[in-house]
Symmetry: C2
Subunit: 355 residues, 2 copies
């Protein structure tokens, strides 16, 4: 379904040379230099020489929303109704992600990947940026049974592919992903636990802020979900993990990530939930990793474990625990800054600075 090339690193030493002749001490821009290198490599794929102009073109945030039946077991700070209410809040431009996309000049699209009740016709007209790509009315309770069936997995990947192909055709070359779904940290924690083979205490956290009683129930349910699985199949078949544990928003994000990598554009990955989608995308095809930029480390402790599995050093650490793509939107200016220093900073020679 996806053909993803390993990134061509032929011009890495050329890029390093450009960075090292800029008017600054060697390596003095720290993590921003790695970011510039990665962006330049990604944007130099069709040539044997490094691009001289890295661009951040029409950066687009797609927020995928989906519901989780497991939320009926009182393991979230809010009922599933809130998923739908927040989708409307996104369309009315009232959520945190709307604010951050606005201040950082990021286009934003909202996808109903499978919330419990679809929007009414009138609600859908609130915004041109709403996409209805429903896979169902929320995934099944994963502590009891498979989240979805194989058809839904395939359709979910396809939906992700369609919308990302669309935004790339509109000129986007940096894709940002966000999500909304009451109960979806349970799916992400279960995915982590299935792959990491760590204890439930290490994989399950407070999400957006549940109490200790709810946390205990959440741990039991996630443990049950993972106990249902065939461990050999987990390791051999990422689509099985999607079918068993993923939310509708997660499966569509996996399709989105695979498509962006296939098309050779950079992805800015948000927090715990989006990273769980990235983890599965990398299991499907390890070449995906080259296209991933990790925006932030969330306040969810298990996120650190997930980032380590992906050998990722995120750009920000602001104790966020909101989701929606907020961490990714906040990190975008750093990509612009990295591109700008690579493109526009003087060299020692051009500036007449003696080394």
């Amino acid at each position: 379904m996806f053909t993803i090339n390993p990134i061509n690193k032929n011009c890495l030493s050329e890029i390093q040379q450009v960075i090292d002749t800029k008017t600054k001490p060697l390596g003095a821009l720290g993590q921003l230099e790695n970011l510039a290198k990665q962006l330049t490599l990604i944007q130099s794929q069709n040539s044997d020489t490094a691009t001289v102009q890295v661009t951040v073109s029409k950066p687009t945030m797609i927020v995928f929303a989906g519901d989780h039946q497991i939320a009926q077991q009182n393991i979230s700070i809010a009922p599933s109704d809130v998923t739908r209410q927040m989708v409307l809040n996104f369309l009315n431009c009232g959520a945190a992600i709307n604010c951050f996309c606005r201040t950082n000049q990021i286009d934003m699209k909202v996808v109903d990947a499978g919330i419990i009740s679809p929007l009414t016709l009138e609600e859908k007209t609130l915004s041109d940026n709403f996409y209805e790509q429903r896979l169902g009315a929320g995934i099944n309770d994963i502590s009891i049974k498979s989240a979805m069936d194989e058809t839904q997995v395939k359709q979910g990947l396809l939906y992700g592919k369609e919308i990302v192909t669309d935004v790339i055709n509109q000129g986007c070359n940096i894709l940002l992903l966000g999500e909304m779904g009451i109960g979806n940290t349970s799916s992400a924690a279960a995915i982590l636990m299935a792959y990491a083979q760590k204890s439930v205490d290490e994989c399950v956290g407070n999400g957006t802020g549940i109490n200790s009683e709810q946390l205990n129930v959440k741990k039991q349910l996630v443990e049950k979900a993972v106990a249902r699985l065939n461990q050999a199949t987990v390791l051999s078949d990422p689509l099985y993990v999607l079918k068993e544990l993923a939310g509708f928003e997660i499966v569509q994000m996996v399709g989105a990530i695979l498509t962006a990598a296939e098309q050779g554009i950079a992805l800015l990955i948000d927090g715990f939930i989006v990273t769980s989608a990235a983890l599965i995308a990398v299991k499907i095809n390890p070449n995906v990793r080259d296209y991933l930029i990790f925006a932030h480390q969330s306040n969810e402790n298990a996120h650190q474990l997930m980032l380590a599995m992906l050998d990722a050093k995120p750009l920000l650490n602001l104790d966020l625990r909101l989701g929606e793509g907020t961490g990714a939107a906040l990190a975008l200016p750093l990509l612009r800054a990295a591109a700008s220093f690579y493109n526009d900073m003087a060299s020692f020679e051009s500036a007449g600075v003696t080394v």
Copy 2:
């Protein structure tokens, strides 16, 4: 010379209430919530109620440049000539700080606070944003004698006051500070060591990247500089510390910080050198602390020690070791994001989201 009011915190609970009714879990925006609180408090000083519109108006970066005679002892990666060359690079828009100010829409001004050779008439016309505020041709070698005399300290504070008064009159309500000066981490390290009473190993670092031999010499020189001082006077008189250890760029930044606090606007503090100026400003008047936002933790280990003395948790940690104000410029979008969520995010009530 400066009258700085303690910040009025009367409307803190009102601000907290506004933040807590936004459509997000309590505290879910982490450090951004503290930032929004601080900005709102600072901008609500002339009223008993919290402002409803936090603004980031004409954010302005002032880069102060000055030379250090101690650099003649081969303790930097570059000779003092580079300070002047980099000033020209700033005026030609070729430095990292130019790139980051451009991508993040920050006005930028450059001050010759006392580099070795002044710019020529022709060079000065390169930019309208150049200010000549020379206190001398570089400070004395602090390992041997006082950096400057009392008259220079007073004139330096005054210069800082004049330029900041000017930018505030032009509508700036967020001041960003940066610096350039070959050898100036030695001054900053000596200031830290004088106040922190920690070992030279804890206070002196690699700066922009010197080798271990140079580092050893640098440690000896900083130790000599601090050994010259009367410890009782250090603790009782911050102007004495300025006179003995500060660079011309540091003393002007202290004046700038005191003025911004006096005028009640927020300051975005950069790395090791700017933080040393902030430390002295807080010693002169502890009320200053309320107006300081710390942009980033630099790669210089001693910066952490300095930040701890100021009870500061910086926004970014990107392993930068460049100075120029680059960390502050990179952090500015987070202030815009904090203002935006405070101003524009829907409340649970307005969005019809059930808590």
